[in-house]
Structure formats: C-alpha cells, structure tokens
C-alpha cells in the first residue's frame, strides 16, 4: 500500500482507470452497434484472416450456384428442342410407315413429300436454335450450326461451365451428336426421303422407317445424356447449398458478436465506470480543510 496519498495521485489514478474503462466501454459499444466482434484486423488477426478466406469461399459458392442455374436453364432449353425434334421425327416416321404401305400411291406420296420438306425446314430451324443469341448445337465455333443445305458448320468443341472448384461440366451437344454424322444427318436425310417420295420409290421409303427409328434413338440417347448432366448439376447444387450453410456458420462464428454477452459485459463495465466516477467525486469532496473550519 501507499505510504502517502497525495492530491495529484488521487487525480491521476482515477483518470487512468476512468480512461481505461471508458476505452473498454467504447469497444463494447462499437461491437453491439455493429453486431460484429471483428471490426478491424487487430481485434482478432487470425479471425480476420479466416473471415477473408471464408467470405471468399462463399462468394465463389454463390458464383458456382449462378453457373449451375445457368447450366440448368441451358439444359432445359436444349431438352425442349429435343422434345420438339422427337415429335418431328415421329411425324416423319408415321408418314414413312403410311407411305410405304400398299394403300399409298404416287399422289399421296407427292403430297407427303411436301409435308416432309416442311418437317425438314422445321428440323433445320431447331438445329439452328440459339440460346441468348448463342447457337446451341455448333460447338464453340460461334457460327450457325447448319447451312440451308444441311451441312454442319460448327466444331466438336465442348462448352463447359464451372460448378465447383476444379470441376467442369459439359452442357452442350454438338450437331452431329443429335442430328447424325456428316451427310447422314437428319436434315439431308429428310431431303433424300422427300426425293424418294416424289419419285415414288417405295423401297427407299420403307427403308426410311428404320432410318428414322435410328434418328429417334439418337435423340433419345442425347436426351438421356442431358438427363445425366442435369442430375450432375443438381447434385453439385445440393452440395454447394450444404457447404454454403457450413461456411456461413463458420464465418458468423468468427466475426459476429454475441450480442447478449456483449450487453451483459457492457452493463457491468458501465456500473464500474459510474462507481469510479462517484468515488472520485467523493474523494475530492472530503478533505481535512472541510473539517477545520
């Protein structure tokens, strides 16, 4: 203990503790007001570091989710095209079946040829579909997939999107894969079928049933491929969803302030502060001089 208590000592000790307490109260006040316990790196250097990393991860997850949403929209769109295509091929097949039969004659075949040419135009239009201005079936070439003669102008490039760190999923089908390779593609085949109908070649029309069946199978195969990509994207979306929750929790643990605890601490510190103020006041009120009057 002190041997002598002097005037300046009383003052400076009180002031010292008041300012220290004041600083702590201010800090708590800041925490409660902002809801964060890490307001600047020095509040918790390691916490600030991991917060930066966790937040970066979250931002990436959000982007991956956006990528997946885009991929799903793209796949849905492709799926819709293939659905239409399947119908068109089925119609062509119906015609081939009916026109290969004995009841058909040159007249019906000529009339059907026109119908098939109509289907061919519809198929060409589907093959040249664009999504948000981009050709769907031309690979990475950026060109229209098929010329009006039904020649493929694209390339074999796979369009991939990033769905997780280091994971790319392809989402595009190239023209040949859906419509058939080289000259054996659906568009050019429909041309030949129309020609066979016009020239009344029953044999060729009958073969067309199998051919069209083959094209149908190709589309079904393509649709199943779309399905598996779709499932892949959905799986990654679920994984991302779960990871986002975990990382958000982690981030909150690092930076968010426990308001209840902070307020409790704040009020106890405030009490101490007020007590110091009161006792300091008393300290200066009571001196010997007041008794010597």
């Amino acid at each position: 203990m002190f041997a002598r208590v002097t005037e300046l000592m009383k003052l400076s000790v009180s002031l010292f503790h008041l300012s220290r307490n004041g600083r702590r109260i201010w800090k708590l006040q800041e925490m409660v007001a902002s809801g964060r316990k890490v307001l600047r790196p020095s509040d918790d250097p390691l916490g600030a570091m991991s917060a930066i990393r966790l937040k970066g991860q979250l931002e990436q997850f959000e982007q991956y989710k956006r990528n997946i949403e885009f991929g799903l929209r793209w796949l849905n769109y492709t799926e819709a095209i293939l659905d239409n295509l399947e119908e068109l091929i089925a119609k062509a097949k119906e015609i081939a079946v009916s026109q290969a039969s004995d009841t058909a004659n040159l007249d019906t075949r000529r009339a059907s040829a026109a119908y098939i040419r109509g289907l061919r135009e519809a198929v060409l239009q589907l093959a040249n579909s664009t999504y948000e201005g981009r050709p769907v079936f031309s690979g990475l070439s950026g060109k229209e997939a098929y010329s009006s003669e039904g020649v493929y102008q694209g390339d074999q490039g796979g369009f991939k999107i990033a769905v997780a760190e280091g994971v790319l999923v392809q989402v595009n089908l190239t023209g040949p894969r859906v419509f058939g390779e080289g000259q054996e593609n659906l568009i050019q085949y429909l041309d030949r079928l129309a020609q066979a109908l016009e020239t009344d070649q029953r044999e060729l029309v009958a073969q067309g049933i199998d051919h069209l069946e083959g094209f149908l199978n190709r589309v079904i195969e393509a649709r199943s491929q779309l399905g598996s990509w779709y499932a892949q994207l959905e799986a990654y979306r679920n994984i991302l969803e779960q990871r986002s929750i975990k990382v958000t929790e982690g981030l909150s643990e690092v930076v968010d302030c426990d308001i209840a605890q902070a307020i409790t601490e704040l009020s106890s510190r405030q009490l101490a502060y007020e007590a110091t103020l009161l006792s300091t006041k008393r300290l200066f009120e009571e001196t010997l001089i007041s008794f010597l009057r």
């Binding site: 600047r40 509040d43 990436q60 990528n67 999107i161 990033a162």
Partner: protein
C-alpha cells in the same frame, strides 16, 4: 539570559515563518505535475557556554530539501519513452489498418471475388458484350482500389518523415534548454531541478537516452554513447530522407555523423522503425501482391484470343535497351524462354496460318525478335521496334491473335513470353502504384481473351482458367523472399500480420501505460503534495509560531518585572 531567550524565540519565529513559507509553496504547487514537494530541515543552533550551563541558541533552517527519488526518475524516463514508442506505433498502425485491413465484406477481398466471378460470368456467355464491359468495370475498380492504397501508403511515408522532422525540432529545443539549465543548477535550487526533470521527461517522449549527473546536478544526455548535451553544450539532430530510408544525423560544429541506429524508443524511435522497416515491408508486400496479380492474369490472357482480332498491337512494356538480350533489356518482368504462336486470319475470319516462334531471352534482343517476326510472318505481319516497344501490324486484309501450344485439343500452359513483352495484356504496370487495366480493352471489349483455341469464339476455356486463378497457388516474389499462396491467402496473411502487429502494439502500449502509471503514482507518493499533510503542518507551524510569540511575550513580561524592581 532573558536576552538569549529572546534570541531563541526570534530564531523560532524565523524558522516557523520559513517553514510556513515552504508549506505555502507546497500548497501552491499541489497541481503542478512535475513539482517535488519541499521540506524544511530544521536543526538546533549550537550551544553557548553560559555560566549556568551549555544552553542551546534555538533553531535554524539548515536546508529546504526537495523530496525526490533519483532512481525512480530514471525509471520513469525509460518507461516514458517506452510508452511514447508504442503510442506512436499503435496510432500509425491503426491508421494503416484502416487503409489496407478492410473487413472481408469490402475492399480488396471483395473486389478480388468480384473480379474472378466476372470472369466466370464471361465463361457462361463467352461472346457476350455486357459481360465484357462488366468485367472491365470491375477490373478498373480493383486496380484503382489497389493503386489508391499504394498512394495512401506513399502519403503515410511522407507524413512519417514530416513528423520525425517536427519531433526533432522539439528535441533540439529541449537539448538547448537543458544545456542552458545546466549553467544555473546549484544545490538548493530545487525548482530548477524540477524543471530539469520535466525537460528530461519531455525528451524521453521522443527518444531513449542515458543520463549522467554530476555533483552539482548538471546532466549529460547520451544516446548510444554519444553526448547530445554535455555541460553547457548541446548538439543538434537533423533528419534526412535518403535512399536507405529516414536517417538521423548529429550535427556538431560542422561535422555530421549518422546516429540513426542509436535512436531507439520514444516517438522518434517509433517513427524510424515504422518508416525504415514496417513501411518498406508493407509496401513491398502490396507491390508483390499487385505484381503477381498482373503477371498471372496477363500470362493467361496474352496467349489467347477474344472474339475480335488485332490488326495492330504495341507492347505495354518498354525495353530500355532494344539491342540487348531480352533478359537484360530492362523489361519489368523477366522474359522466359519459350514458344508462342500467332494465328493469322483472313477477311472472312478463317484461320489461314499458325506461325510458331521460339524465343531465347539470353540471346535474342527485341530488335532480333522483330526481325524473326518479319521473317516468320512474311506476307502476313510487319514488326518493328519503336521507342523500346515492339509493334506488330497485320498486312492489309489480315488480322492476328496470339495463342499457346495445344496438344490433342488440350491447351498447354502459356509460355509467358507474350505477356513479358506486354502484348495482349489484361493489366498494365508492374506494381501497386502502376497497376491499371489495358486501355485498349475499354475501347474494344471484344479483345478480351476468353478463348484458348483458335477460331473458337464460343470457347470459354481461357475465361475459366483465369477465374481458376482464384484457387491456384501462385508465386509471390518480394525482397529476398518468395512464397506460394493463392492471391486471397496472400492478401489475408498481409492483413493478418498487420492486424497482429497492430494488436501487439496496442497491448504493449497498454502495458507501458500501466507501468508508467504505477511509477508515476509511486513518484507522486514520494514527491507529491498531500493537502492533509500540509494543512496539519500549517496548523502545527501556526501553533509553534504562537508558542514562540508567547515566549517573547513571557520574556517581555519577565523583563518588565525585572525592570520594575526599584
């Protein structure tokens, strides 16, 4: 004998008066921070031999003593410079923290996420225009943010120098005053000793020193064994911004020598430490961060194509000596040895040629490279060097783009040659202060290289590779050190160590402040004025004075009695 008694009473009256005077002085200085209380030392006057006996002659003021602990004062000086050091350190660091150490929600970490995400947005729509302008706007934000931080760091550096200069002006004034005071110090001039201590303490706020005191109380102030004040002579300190950092010189009758390494502790020590070590480190780290960002993005960007091709391009980096081998040509980035490709397209956008170029930076100069390009690209390209920069232009009807090697559809890593020459770069510059986005891209966003394969505008491979940089560990090279980390990890480590240092400074400051406070309390306990004590003393002295007066009165009465004897 009565006469003697009167003399004794007189001495008592004088002594009590002196003591009251000292008490008044104490009370008057109750709030003077550096004041040391004074105490009257009374002692008896030697006896005289009277016929009756040896009788005392009363009292005299032997000394007015200053109550003070010399060693405590030394400790206080030391602790004062410790506290001032950490106070300055802490204040500056928390400012730097505000400059650089943003939270995870904003600043560089946020912009970095935005930047890489914008590349992914482009990967979703590789031919999109809106995605390109968005990416460029975000990149502009990022580079401007980093550039602005670098600028703020530079102004912090200037402030540190200015503050050191201002501090030295104070120091020099104190040194002069101390030397002057040395001429006036004598034993018993208590208040001058207080003034001396106050000056020493003020000095301790600026730097740490050693004090030697002679018999008369005159002080010599030494820093690292060199006297700043000796007797009546004071030296002058001077600060200079040199290439090696901020240096402090001692100027002494025409000679000048460096004392930087001796200046420790106090505000000045903190300013020197901050400026010469901390600031340099921090700036180096920010520069390394920007440099790696520039290099890694450019390396991928340069050897790839956008949806539009070049008809003319000029290198962003200038070779100081276009005739020297490229490794010594003074380019900001080291030119690696490697192979790069130039794809040439005709008017219809069809690829007509794939030109291959090998570069050996140890042998070929920029001029040689231009020559090689002219030969290899004959009929398609013209190359020349103007003002230390490589210029390539396509001949009429052709355009060209850059590419890297590819094997079986898989793109190989870029050689880095094209970006080192500053061709088809995404970022310009080489450190935090020079970082900017290639202005040509703002004019023609289609030049943004998202495709790693020739003639494939819908290819997004390059955009994916660049966005993949976010998770890739890359090399950071600074002064004499190199480490591998992702850009985000590197930045967060930078913020973390800044935060850690700032936190330590805060803790050290609190400790130093606490210690100084307890020493100060101890000093006040010894040297401070206690009102109670003084009031009691005053009462006591008043009574003593009254008693002595009473003695005079009694003697007077006795003398009267004596004189009235008839």
């Amino acid at each position: 004998m009565f006469i003697w008694a009167l003399e004794v009473a007189k001495s008592a009256l004088f002594a009590q008066q002196a003591a009251i005077y000292v008490t008044a002085h104490n009370i008057a200085n109750v709030n003077t921070p550096e004041y040391s209380r004074q105490q009257v030392v009374l002692s008896t006057l030697g006896p005289v031999n009277l016929p009756v006996a040896y009788l005392g002659r009363g009292v005299w003021v032997e000394e007015v003593r200053r109550i003070y602990d010399r060693f405590l004062a030394l400790q206080i000086h030391y602790q004062q410079s410790e506290k001032s050091f950490w106070e300055t350190y802490r204040t500056k660091l928390s400012y730097l923290e505000a400059v650089l150490g943003t939270s995870e929600e904003e600043g560089i970490p946020k912009l970095l996420s935005d930047f890489f995400n914008a590349w992914q947005d482009l990967s979703l729509n590789p031919t999109g225009y809106a995605e390109r302008t968005a990416l460029l706007a975000i990149s502009e934000n990022l580079s401007e943010f980093i550039r602005y931080r670098a600028q703020q760091l530079l102004s912090v550096k200037a402030d540190l120098s200015k503050e050191a200069e201002a501090s030295l002006r104070d120091v020099n004034r104190i040194l002069l005053e101390l030397a002057e005071l040395n001429g006036q110090l004598r034993t018993g001039r208590n208040d001058l000793f207080d003034k001396r201590d106050a000056l020493l303490r003020e000095l301790a706020q600026y730097l740490d020193f050693t004090v030697l005191e002679d018999r008369l109380g005159r002080v010599s102030v030494l820093v690292g064994g060199i006297a700043l004040v000796e007797g009546l002579k004071a030296s002058r300190l001077q600060v200079e911004d040199t290439a090696q950092g901020l240096e402090v010189f001692l100027v002494d009758s025409g000679t000048k020598f460096r004392v930087t390494s001796f200046v420790k502790g106090g505000k000045l020590g903190a300013l020197l430490e901050l400026r010469n070590r901390f600031w340099e480190d921090l700036k180096g780290e920010l520069d390394a961060f920007a440099r790696t960002l520039i290099w890694e993005v450019n390396r991928l960007h340069s050897e790839a194509e956008g949806t539009r091709r070049y008809s003319f391009i000029e290198g962003a980096y200038k070779a100081a000596d276009p005739e020297a081998p490229l490794s010594q040509a003074g380019l900001p980035f080291e030119v690696p040895r490697g192979t790069f490709y130039i794809n040439v397209y005709d008017q219809n956008g069809e690829a007509v040629a794939r030109l291959v170029f090998d570069l050996d930076p140890e042998v070929q100069s920029l001029m040689d490279l231009a020559e090689t390009l002219n030969q290899g690209g004959a009929g398609y390209l013209n190359a020349e060097v103007r003002d230390g920069r490589l210029r390539i232009s396509a001949q009429e009807g052709f355009t060209f783009g850059f590419a890297r090697g590819a094997e079986a559809g898989e793109v190989r890593p870029p050689s880095g040659v094209v970006s080192a020459l500053g061709l088809n770069c995404f970022f310009f510059g080489w450190d935090a202060s020079t970082l900017s986005v290639n202005p040509t891209l703002h004019l023609m966003p289609e030049l943004l290289s998202q495709s790693a394969m020739p003639a494939s505008p819908s290819d997004n491979t390059n955009a994916l590779l660049i966005s993949g940089l976010e998770n890739q560990k890359v090399w950071f090279k600074g002064e004499g050190k190199a480490l591998q980390a992702t850009l985000r990890e590197y930045f967060s480590a930078m913020v973390g160590s800044l935060g850690l240092e700032s936190k330590q400074a805060m803790d050290r400051f609190e400790t130093a402040e606490g210690l100084l406070q307890s020493l100060e309390t101890r000093r006040q306990e010894i040297s401070g004025v206690s009102m109670e004590e003084e009031v009691i003393n005053l009462t006591r002295l008043q009574r003593s004075y009254e008693a002595a007066s009473r003695v005079v009165k009694v003697v007077d009465e006795l003398l009267e009695t004596l004189l009235s004897l008839r």
